[in-house]
């Protein structure tokens, strides 16, 4: 029996790195410090597991050896005119880099899950920039915390205790030293512990932010309520924001994926930018998957763009809405797909999923998923951060090395090794070797 300390959790964008995991004979038997999600991820990592490669023959998935599965995957990708390579948010930075090389090699499109979560954040950022910081800055300095369209008590369970209102920092010692504001369409769990709860009408965040910006400038707001919020409350919130020493705005899909999308984030960035004339104010998106930020980051240094990249011309073309996976699939343009550590069949629109299934499909994943059940090639992989190592990037951009502490099922390799195998095989096929 061995206990590992300081293990980084591969669940959400918080990347809590203080988990204690006890391993016996290669299996995880005990987890300390982790949240409920973390515990589930560690303790159930062998449930619904695929342990052998599968290839579909005569409409049935049959067990094959790994080299055969890699060969078939390589053949599918090199025969395809325009394959889509999608997922990448729950694997290592190293695997993501190889994925991009693979997409270049086969002239396909590569996209990560950003296009269905914080894509609007990146688009707004490209217009305006973003005043941000690392989470430790918030822990040490912030006396005003705002969660907007985000409910960390149900999505990022330790965010508040590690980085915001529950954290002990250099200048903020306890809960009393910080004010918590929640803006949401309903009284969420997080809202219940807030000092101020602002209930915004669904899809009217943009108006509320605009009203706040007016209040900052002491402009007269002629209505009595904006987006369902009384003007006095808006003015009070504006006062609170201007008079804090260090404010931090965290926002989630409630802001990025409600009506207005990137325009909402435009407005939020403008608000935070304005606030920097009076005080110090920052914002950080609440990223979901543990390495979705890493997917953006690695895409950027390889291609210049964070997601939704098309290599069909031999260089990266970035046009979210045209080159994003959902859109390519929905238009039925792709003729093969590789899905890695993601389950688009469970959450993409019906038309996109139909096309995904119509063409040859490769899935690399530790688990059986809705997508993998219909795949032509399934290659099981090891869990990054549990069974193999690799770098991940926290929601604030801090890179953390994930460790391998348990044994993967026999014969199961890390994503990195599988992708290397496919890439090598494709190059061999291309050169007629």
């Amino acid at each position: 029996m061995e206990t590992f300390t300081g293990v980084t959790c591969p669940f959400c964008g918080c990347l809590c790195d203080d988990i204690e995991v006890t391993v016996e004979k290669g299996n995880i038997v005990k987890v300390k410090n982790g949240c409920a999600y973390s515990l589930t991820k560690y303790l159930n990592c062998n449930r619904d597991r695929i342990t052998t490669p599968l290839i579909r023959e005569n409409d049935k998935q049959v067990v094959v050896e790994l080299p055969a599965a890699i060969e078939r995957a390589a053949k599918i990708l090199s025969d395809a005119e325009y394959p889509v390579l999608y997922g990448w948010s729950s694997t290592s930075a190293e695997a993501i880099g190889l994925g991009i090389e693979l997409a270049e090699e086969v002239g396909g499109a590569i996209d990560n899950t950003t296009s269905v979560c914080h894509g609007p954040t990146t688009e707004a950022l490209q217009e305006l920039g973003l005043p941000g910081c690392t989470l430790g800055q918030v822990k040490n300095r912030a006396d005003l915390i705002i969660y907007w369209g985000s409910n960390p008590l149900q999505s990022h369970l330790r965010h508040m205790s590690r980085y915001t209102i529950g954290a002990e920092g250099r200048w903020r010692k306890s809960r009393d030293d910080r004010t918590l504001v929640v803006v949401d369409v309903r009284r969420t769990y997080t809202a219940r512990v807030a000092d101020y709860f602002i209930q915004v009408e669904p899809n009217r965040d943009y108006e509320l932010i605009t009203a706040l910006r007016m209040a900052l400038r002491h402009e007269e707001i002629e209505q009595e309520r904006v987006a369902g919020v009384p003007v006095e409350d808006i003015e009070e919130l504006a006062d609170l924001m201007m008079s804090c020493e260090f404010g931090a705005l965290f926002y989630g899909l409630g802001l990025t994926m409600s009506s207005g999308k990137n325009r909402n984030i435009d407005a939020a960035i403008s608000l935070v930018r304005d606030l920097n004339r009076w005080t110090k104010f920052v914002m950080i998106p609440m990223r979901g998957h543990f390495n979705v930020n890493g997917a953006n980051i690695v895409f950027l240094w390889h291609t210049g763009y964070p997601f939704a990249i098309d290599f069909s011309h031999g260089y990266p073309i970035y046009a979210p809405g045209a080159t994003s996976a959902v859109d390519i699939l929905s238009r039925g343009e792709s003729d093969a797909a590789l899905i890695i550590s993601s389950d688009p069949a469970a959450n993409f629109p019906r038309r996109a999923v139909e096309n995904l299934f119509k063409n040859p499909l490769i899935v690399i994943d530790p688990h059986r998923t809705v997508t993998s059940m219909r795949a032509d090639v399934v290659i099981p992989s090891a869990f990054v951060g549990i069974e193999c190592e690799g770098t991940a990037y926290r929601m604030d951009g801090v890179p953390i090395k994930m460790r391998g502490i348990a044994e993967p099922p026999k014969g199961v390799l890390p994503d990195e090794e599988i992708l290397k195998g496919i890439l090598t095989e494709i190059r061999r096929l291309k050169r007629g070797g």
Binding site: D17, N276, V282, L300, P316
Partner: protein
């Protein structure tokens, strides 16, 4: 592999070779005596100039800040695009190119060594991941340490020993090469949205001044026997009248410096060489700074030359980037890093018809021409702050040719032209001097013994250019010179030909240098105690997850040093 380069006209200032026709012998990646070769491939370099591979002492090419620049500027990536070719990744970007583009482009110009001069220690794993993916060149990165809480606390206590042992630990942990100061103390102040003025303004809550930080880190650097002096981005960067702060900075370590031994490297000095009281009467402080440097030997500088380009500014100097955002109205990224540093990114276009920009352009060149000893100077643009590195050959021709300068001068803002002293300077650099400021001097300042020269035992990094000073008039033919310098005929890195006619051939990878300083055990133990006690209070990660292992670097090249005197 063996290679014999014959008939080249060689400029190797470190060995006093000034345009002589001599053969260069290469074996197993190093320069050797010609007699050592047995079965060498011969490269006939008739009519070509040979120099050691270029060394860039200061270019922001990798890491969190550069990558956020890429994110901020999708428009930049459309300015230069090349399809992927066999063995090469696609070329994308201009002022913030992809890591692959960066490696290929440096090689295409004959550069083989580049320093990333500012990495936040907490995020340096990211910097190394990008450096790992930067092909061809050798590289290193400098952690930013001037607003680091451990440093501020040790220095406040006057504990130079403790600070030294801590920084030895930090350099080893993040695999860094030199100590970088960025507007000392001001990123900590910026954590509260404030800035510092000059070098005697105290850092809020820490009650220590930039002067004390500079002097303390200067002492630490000496105690650790680091290969390179402290690299300092001076306070008040970008403000009219700031040349006085630069002078204060140089003077503040005068009494600590040994004679004839540089111990302070001022980075991108152009941005800290402004006289005048405001933007309307901005003028050049270059002559005052050059005068000081001409009469003192403890200071070196790199240029930070401005080009008339739409570029992307990025620096750990958070407060300055905010000022630039407010001045320009352009988009703005800010990123403060807990207990350490910060940073900002703002796109900016230097326009030749803009008075301020034209003065900035003139200041850089004036300074380069007024500093008498080229060994004190390195050519940089503070890439991409003054302009992208791929445009260095334009600066080279401005130094080599007064005609090139005249042509540029004729097109700038008229009031700036009247104010500029550039027209009255006749000096033209020789190729020998050019080889100093682009190779020999930066390698010497960095303490990279195998770089910047072609003596026996040096790394076999050689660049060959289609230049013939005996036939060409470098001053008159500056356009041809520029093109020749832009596209090296051959770039040889570690004995292998990596680029021909300005095109990289393959995606191979160079080394990453870092310094491993051994300190006495008792000091190491003390630092460990301090880290155990404070680290997790200051940071949001566990101490054990902070260090980067050597195996996380693609080709690590540690420099082992015994930090005597600690």
């Amino acid at each position: 592999m063996e290679l014999l380069i014959t008939n080249a006209i060689v400029y190797d200032p470190a060995n006093g070779i000034d345009g002589e026709k001599i053969d260069i012998a290469v074996k197993d990646g190093r320069i050797v005596e010609t007699s050592e070769l047995k079965d060498a491939k011969v490269l006939d370099a008739s009519g070509l100039v040979a120099m050691p591979g270029g060394v860039d002492i200061h270019a922001h090419i990798a890491g969190p800040k550069v990558n956020k620049g890429r994110l901020l500027r999708p428009e930049d990536h459309l300015r230069m695009i090349n399809r992927r070719r066999e063995g090469l990744r696609p070329i994308v970007g201009y002022t913030i190119p992809t890591t692959f583009t960066t490696g290929y482009w440096y090689a295409s110009m004959g550069y083989t060594t580049v320093m990333e001069p500012a990495t936040p220690p907490l995020e340096t794993r990211h910097t190394h991941e990008e450096l790992n993916d930067t092909p061809i060149i050798d590289k290193a990165c400098f952690p930013v340490v001037d607003s680091n809480w451990f440093v501020l606390e040790y220095l406040k206590e006057g504990d130079i020993q403790g600070c030294s042992a801590y920084l030895a630990w930090l350099l080893r942990s993040v695999k860094g090469y030199a100590l970088k100061l960025v507007s000392p103390g001001s990123e900590e102040a910026w954590g509260w949205g404030e800035g510092l003025k000059g070098i005697d303004d105290p850092v809020p809550y820490f009650d220590i001044t930039p002067r004390e930080i500079i002097r303390g880190l200067h002492a630490v650097n000496k105690l650790l026997k680091l290969p390179s002096p402290i690299h300092i981005h001076c306070n008040d960067l970008g403000s009219p009248g700031n040349y006085r702060v630069t002078l204060d900075t140089m003077r503040c370590v005068e009494d600590l410096s040994e004679r004839d031994r540089p111990s302070l490297h001022i980075v991108h000095i152009q941005f800290n060489a402004y006289a005048g009281s405001g933007w309307g009467d901005l003028s050049s402080g270059a002559s005052e700074l050059a005068k000081y440097m001409n009469s003192h030997s403890h200071v070196t500088a790199d240029l930070g030359q401005v080009l008339f380009e739409d570029t992307t500014t990025m620096t750990a100097d958070g407060p300055w980037q905010y000022v630039l955002h407010r001045l320009s109205g352009n988009k703005w990224v800010n990123h403060d890093v807990e207990a350490e540093t910060g940073g900002g990114i703002v796109p900016y276009e230097y326009r030749r018809r803009n008075y301020v920009n034209a003065i900035q352009w003139s200041i850089g060149l004036e300074f380069a021409l007024m500093v008498k000893d080229p060994w004190k100077l390195c050519l940089t643009t503070d890439h991409p702050n003054g302009g992208p590195f791929i445009e260095y050959p334009r600066i080279m021709t401005w130094l080599l040719s007064s005609k090139a300068r005249e042509a540029a001068l004729a097109r700038i803002n008229r009031r700036a032209r009247r104010k500029s002293s550039l027209g009255s300077i006749d000096r033209e650099y020789s190729l020998y001097e050019l080889a100093i400021v682009t190779r020999a001097a930066p390698a010497r300042i960095l303490g990279l013994e195998g770089k910047g020269h072609l003596g026996i035992g040096a790394d076999a990094d050689v660049s060959l250019y289609k230049l013939n000073p005996y036939i060409m008039d470098l001053s008159k033919d500056y356009k041809r010179v520029r093109e020749a310098l832009r596209r090296a005929a051959y770039t040889i890195k570690g004995g292998e030909i990596v680029a021909i006619d300005g095109e990289a051939l393959n995606t191979t990878y160079g080394k990453t240098y870092w310094v491993d300083v051994e300190v006495p055990e008792r000091e190491e133990e003390r630092v460990k105690r301090d880290l155990n006690e404070k680290f997790e209070r200051y940071y949001s990660v566990k101490l054990e997850n902070y260090p980067i292992e050597e195996r996380d670097l693609r080709f690590p090249s540690p420099l082992h040093i015994r930090g005597e005197g600690i």
